[in-house]
Symmetry: C2
Subunit: 185 residues, 2 copies
């Protein structure tokens, strides 16, 4: 789009300066609208999915896990990275079962969002998962240590509204599901 | 807390492997609950603030800007990094004025959240800003190119609900302000 080319910046050059297991670090050379250049550090990560699992009694299945970047244990919805050709929906179903032992048979799209627009390529797609079947097939990566947590949706909503939950995807799943969950009977 | 030490991981060692203008990359050596070790790549960024500015007619002041990491132009609420000792509230007021020319005299806390718990230290505090005064004192960094956008809160809410806005902080500001904005008269 011409308009964007003229009014805004565009990327002239892209160097990968670190390749990791989880993320790559790239240095971008950006051409500014006034013809000057600026360097921009960005992080390339895989896209992800996350899912709020709600059963017929309006109970939710969450996980507690330690997050090294923040140095604390967080309460979160099940989540995982999107690998290669797997669809977001099938990744969400797989992660549900692997992390909680519950498999949803109905998925509703909530939203797809960019989690850190200032420096990250990452997008996360959120779902509400219902009609849960307990298969017990929990399967964690060898470095993954999760603790399952079950509570009512109303308790979760209260934790979000009092800012006791700080994970963005869990907050968004909860706020975007409120109306849908109120229709579960 | 003992419980967390035993059940979950903890960080044994921390090396900074890249120092940038915007972010640092650190490699953590994490001790797992089963006594093994894992390496973990994390990104250290400054915390940030963002603010939804709503006037008495329920119009919102937003900005469009190019985001190099995503390679596209996004519609967002005003935002900025927290520098040193400045409080989140005063940073939010300052960024409002610098990016839009509007200065809010009333700020309401919406939430503080971690935007990328898998790999980032970053926290963002969101506000609703009302009682706007137009001072016109727009002041952008030399590499910042923003386009002001004004629309009704209802239009913004519609853009969020139809997933035409993908920026996490803007989505959260909108959803968390809906009830508060409905009380503006």
């Amino acid at each position: 789009m011409n308009r964007e080319k003229n009014v805004f910046e565009h990327v002239e050059k892209r160097d990968t300066i670190f390749r990791g297991n989880y993320l790559n670090l790239e240095m971008l050379k950006v051409k500014l609208p006034d013809e000057r250049f600026a360097n921009w550090e960005i992080v390339r990560v895989k896209d992800a999915v996350a899912i709020l699992l709600v059963d017929k009694k309006r109970n939710v299945q969450l996980v507690r896990q330690y997050r090294p970047a923040l140095g604390r244990v967080l309460l979160e919805v099940p989540t995982g990275l999107l690998d290669g050709k797997e669809s977001a929906k099938s990744a969400a179903v797989r992660e549900s079962e692997e992390e909680t032992g519950y498999r949803p048979s109905v998925l509703q799209d909530l939203i797809t969002y960019a989690h850190a627009v200032g420096y990250s390529t990452g997008m996360i797609t959120l779902f509400l998962g219902t009609e849960l079947e307990y298969t017990g097939k929990i399967h964690l990566d060898t470095t993954e240590f999760l603790e399952p947590v079950c509570m009512s949706f109303d308790e979760l909503l209260q934790l979000v509204k009092t800012n006791q939950i700080i994970d963005a995807k869990t907050i968004l799943c909860t706020l975007l599901s409120e109306e849908l969950v109120s229709n579960i009977s």
